[in-house]
Symmetry: C2
Subunit: 211 residues, 2 copies
Amino acid sequence: MIEPIPTQTLQRLPLYLNYLKSLPSDEVLNISATMIAEELRLNDVQVRKDLAMAGQGGRPKIGYPVKDLISDIEHCLGYDNIERVVIVGLDNMGRALLKYEGFSEYGFDIVAAFDFDESVIGTHIFGKQVLSVEKLPKICSRMKIKMGIITVGSKEAQSVCDLLVKSGIMAIWNFSSVRLKVPDKIIVQNENLASSLAVLSNHLVEKFRSV
Amino acid sequence: MIEPIPTQTLQRLPLYLNYLKSLPSDEVLNISATMIAEELRLNDVQVRKDLAMAGQGGRPKIGYPVKDLISDIEHCLGYDNIERVVIVGLDNMGRALLKYEGFSEYGFDIVAAFDFDESVIGTHIFGKQVLSVEKLPKICSRMKIKMGIITVGSKEAQSVCDLLVKSGIMAIWNFSSVRLKVPDKIIVQNENLASSLAVLSNHLVEKFRSV
DNA sequence: TAGATTGTTAATCGATTAACAATC
DNA sequence: TAGATTGTTAATCGATTAACAATC
């Protein structure tokens, strides 16, 4: 039995990866958790625990071998295991995702992009052909796609979601502000800008109350 | 002394707000925490605690008055207290934010948009004029802007951040994948797509290991 | 009164941090 | 050996959930 990785650890792993990759690989062969922690402003024990979940472990006084650590983390995050996904909605957010650092870097391959808007259907955006949403069910079921990204507006979100579920999709990354209703089996991850804004807005208020 | 609101509560408040606003205001005058919890798939005690932090409280057997609750939450989130912000980087992510449900709905007013790219400088995007980054320090300090949004690439992120800090900005919403280095006083909120991807990717792997 | 609902207090759970032993 | 660093065990902290009393 492989033990599951806590969500918080999962969220920090890309930070480590990003930092490790920024190191000059010919100069820095080993790195200590203490160093990583200081650089990313985290607790060093926390870094060590996180790394223990993802990798092989380090050596006292020496630290962790950078190269191995990078590949261990990438493996742990599934970046070496390509997952085919579809995206629905090619507004600015959809385009930002399409462009986002290749996406492929993270083991995702966007095999199809869908939209309702007649004016973009048939065109290519960042090298991907845009198809009509009508074609979604056929393509998803035929290609056995398991994951979909929703970047359409609030109005269309639930119906697009239903369509994806009907087409056999198992996981949905939801950028709309709607709380999607799905069968229990389906994984939904909400990316909620309003929530982030709420946190930030409140921090600001807190800050300036004392000043 | 007003007690601070926990981050998790803060993140859920917009969900409640969204749901409450979706109700037909002439039909539903009061709503129970039990109902909200069921609808958003949360624990009802949690909803009650959250609402207690934001609002006036409800009445047994009756619930919470919808109208009051909406304005209480909005007030609590600072949405009725307009904060002027600037945004740097008008790539797709920057545009998505500019467009995002008006932004103004959440009490933020984007007073200026900056970019490096000569081809967009001087143009208008969603009604906002795009200015050269060179003009940033003068405008921010003159207008006493306290908040900035960074949607530039990894390369430019830290230098834009330094520029914002030098110009008197106190809070930064960071969409780049770089871990920004700032003085202790400055609030940074990171919006990390890679972290979200990591969580989702892992959920998928977990899911299909058992199947 | 009975039942739904609120709100509070206590128990549980999970994540972070502190203390410390083991190791190179 | 001394000191830096890993890794583990225990303590702390914060958030969620359960139990229950109060109220309309």
